[in-house]
């Protein structure tokens, strides 16, 4: 009989820190160590954490700009083309030319906002890879403390810099009170 193995591949390490200051300074060190696939979870937003983690500006805003511009131009084209070019519609004796524009503004405004909002929602889901039913980190009881009083850092095993021994040593040297290896789902 073959020896049965139930060990799954590792998802990565999670490390618990005592407070916001500790995790903030730890994040700076991890950033400087060159890690790319890692994250910090805290019960509340920590000011300046994005800089400490070395996060670049999200490209969501570009997506929203594109969404808004699409919406605005679509509304302008749809109204102008149909009401002025294709079938000039005279309302209250007002001219059907460039000076009809004010009548189109409410729809332009609304559609700009609508498509911007869609771009926010859609872009966010794509960037965050949502929706998903479960996440390997949720298996850890330690990790769940992040929504209560825990300051948790997670480093994924996918990161090229990841090493079972050295990463653990690094986290412990940074003052983590509790380092835990989390298994992947599969």
């Amino acid at each position: 009989m073959k020896e049965k193995t139930n060990s799954k591949p590792a998802y990565g390490y999670i490390a618990e820190f005592e407070n916001a200051t500790a995790i903030y300074h730890a994040a700076e060190k991890v950033r400087d160590a060159g890690f790319k696939r890692w994250d910090v979870h805290s019960p509340y937003p920590i000011h300046g954490m994005d800089a400490a983690m070395g996060l670049k500006k999200s490209w969501l805003s570009a997506l929203v700009l594109a969404g808004g511009a699409t919406g605005g131009l679509t509304a302008l084209f749809l109204q102008f083309f149909t009401q002025v070019n294709l079938y000039p519609t005279v309302v209250q004796g007002k001219p059907t030319d460039f000076s009809t524009l004010p009548a189109f503004f409410p729809v332009i405004f609304e559609l700009t906002i609508l498509l911007s909002a869609f771009a926010v929602l859609g872009g966010l889901l794509v960037i965050l890879l949502l929706p998903r039913l479960n996440h390997p980190l949720l298996a850890s009881k330690t990790f769940l403390k992040f929504s209560d009083d825990g300051f948790i850092m997670s480093i994924e095993a996918r990161d090229p810099k990841f090493s079972r021994e050295r990463t653990k040593e690094l986290l412990e040297s940074l003052g983590a009170t509790n380092v835990e290896l989390v298994e992947d789902e599969v």
């Binding site: 903030y24 000011h47 300046g48 800089a51 500006k57 209250q92 007002k94 004010p102 009548a103 409410p106």
Partner: protein
């Protein structure tokens, strides 16, 4: 992130204005302002003009209103930002709050610069047609009443006499007719009704037998509404508005604006400065609590002020969004001025370790949001009037859309007051770069000048020439002179107020929050 800044590291008495670096500018402002003011006053006093031509003084009335109104919007914006900062319990802007308070504290002085508009009857008559028209109606009404009093009285007495005789006859006739009608109920009730109807009419006529005073005022009202029936037309519109638009209550309201707006900012600034000395947190609580109520005073005063001074430039026109429209422009341009002042003070060595780019970012965000708010209000007002297409309402835009200069100002405002600053302020990095922020602020101030100019000046040509001319050539130089005069005094008063206390509330409990603000 560098270590958090502690309020204890900064001097307890705050930072004083460096007089040696800013004193020269202050005196230059004063000198230029007073010189321009004197020149303006001399030109206005000697510009009476002859009958039948447009006098220089009446042209200069519009210039003065324009200059006072523009700087008033800036100063009043200072009150608004102080109120909002206190009422929303904000901590981010403690460092710049004193700038807002100082800007607001100029308001009563600028309102006092508007005193010629209230006192000089030539100025008033040139600007606001309702004042001379109403005065003429009142005067005409008095003459009409005097001339017609006796004849009207005699007419009414005679009418009553006739009615009395007629009624007696009718009573007799009715009595005999009722006896004749006997059991015919319908007939009897008809006769009784006819009699009581006559009685009511008689009572009405008796009520109409007024004493001289009451009859005089009734005749005056009749004259105002209908004229004398021969040569003079009445003005029912002006009569109906006269409950609000009359010279005594208009003047009283001006006094209330000075007291209301001045009182609000005086109180808040006094408490804020008192806290610099004692460090007592009770002032913070007082400012927060009272600001919520003061907002109402501010809103009412400002709304009625712009109705009284700007909307009634044509008293037949009205817009319910007028107050908000002027307020929106005031908020955005005063925030722009605050950014400019802050950068000027930094360039002269103030706020060295205190103000960071985060403050610029926050002020930029407020500027951005109020650029959008202005556009929203301006477009809504235009859109509703454009769509409804009612003559009394559209006349405002018709006038301001006719003639080369006016119509291009409209396009400038749409693009320059909204699209350009909106796009520029979208980028985060722009809001964190003082040089770019000052450029945008200067641009927005320029747009506010254009906006106020576009509101007031198109009235000048049509009002003074009776519609013969849209623009009076050469009058623009008076506008410039008035602008320099009020602007110089405004700049002097502003710099003077900075010298009176610390540049920021040094003992505010939330100073530390503002020092370390991150957004």
């Amino acid at each position: 992130m560098s270590a958090l800044k502690s309020a204890d590291d900064f001097p307890k008495d705050g930072e004083a204005l460096n007089q040696s670096k800013t004193g020269l500018l202050k005196m230059a402002f004063l000198f230029v302002g007073v010189a321009a003011l004197l020149l303006f006053a001399i030109l206005a006093m000697t510009g009476g003009g002859e009958d039948g031509e447009v006098s220089r003084r009446s042209m200069m009335a519009y210039s003065w209103l324009f200059a006072v109104m523009f700087f008033l919007t800036l100063a009043v914006g200072g009150i608004f930002w102080t109120l909002v900062h206190n009422a929303t319990n904000s901590g981010w802007g403690v460092l710049v709050r004193r700038l807002m308070e100082n800007l607001g504290s100029v308001t009563p002085w600028i309102l006092l610069l508007g005193l010629p508009l209230v006192l000089s009857s030539d100025f008033k008559n040139a600007l606001w047609e309702w004042i001379p028209e109403q005065a003429a109606l009142v005067e005409g009404g008095e003459k009409y009443a005097e001339a017609h009093l006796e004849s009207e009285k005699a007419k009414r007495a005679k009418e009553l006499q006739t009615a009395k005789t007629d009624f007696k006859t009718l009573e007799k006739v009715t009595a005999s007719a009722i006896t004749k009608a006997g059991k015919n109920k319908g007939e009897v009730s008809f006769l009784n009704e006819r009699l009581s109807h006559s009685k009511t009419k008689l009572a009405e006529l008796e009520e109409g037998q007024l004493d001289d005073k009451a009859l005089t005022s009734e005749l005056q009202v009749h004259f105002m509404r209908h004229g004398d029936g021969e040569h003079v037309h009445g003005n029912p519109l002006l009569y109906h508005k006269s409950g609000y638009l009359n010279i005594s209550s208009w003047t009283l309201r001006y006094i209330l604006y000075v007291l209301g707006l001045g009182g609000v900012i005086y109180t808040l600034r006094k408490w804020s400065v008192a806290q610099d000395k004692s460090g007592d947190p009770k002032y913070t609580l007082m400012m927060r609590r009272w600001s919520c109520g003061f907002i109402a005073i501010f809103g009412i005063c400002w709304t009625f002020l712009v109705v009284d001074w700007l909307m009634v430039l044509d008293y037949t026109w009205f817009s319910t969004m007028w107050g908000v429209y002027l307020f929106a422009g005031s908020a955005v341009s005063s925030m722009a001025l605050l950014v400019a002042i802050l950068t000027y003070l930094r360039s002269t060595g103030h706020f060295k370790d205190t103000i960071t780019m985060e403050h610029y970012h926050l002020m930029g965000k407020l500027m951005h949001s109020f650029v959008i708010f202005w556009a929203y209000i301006a477009f809504s007002q235009y859109f509703l009037i454009w769509y409804a297409n009612i003559t009394e309402e559209t006349k405002f835009y018709l006038l301001r859309n006719t003639d080369f200069f006016n119509s291009y100002t409209v396009i400038l405002l749409v693009i320059g007051h909204f699209f350009i600053p909106f796009a520029a302020l979208l980028v985060r990095q722009v809001k964190k770069t003082p040089k770019l922020m000052v450029a945008i602020a200067a641009w927005l101030l320029l747009m506010q000048i254009a906006d106020i100019y576009w509101i007031i000046i198109p009235e000048r040509g049509v009002s003074l020439t009776g519609g013969a001319q849209m623009i009076i050539p050469g009058a623009i130089w008076f506008d410039l002179l008035a602008f320099i005069a009020v602007g110089g005094i405004f700049g002097f008063l502003l710099l003077r107020s900075f010298g009176k206390s610390s540049l920021y509330p040094s003992q505010d409990p939330r100073l530390e929050e503002s020092l370390n603000v991150v957004n």
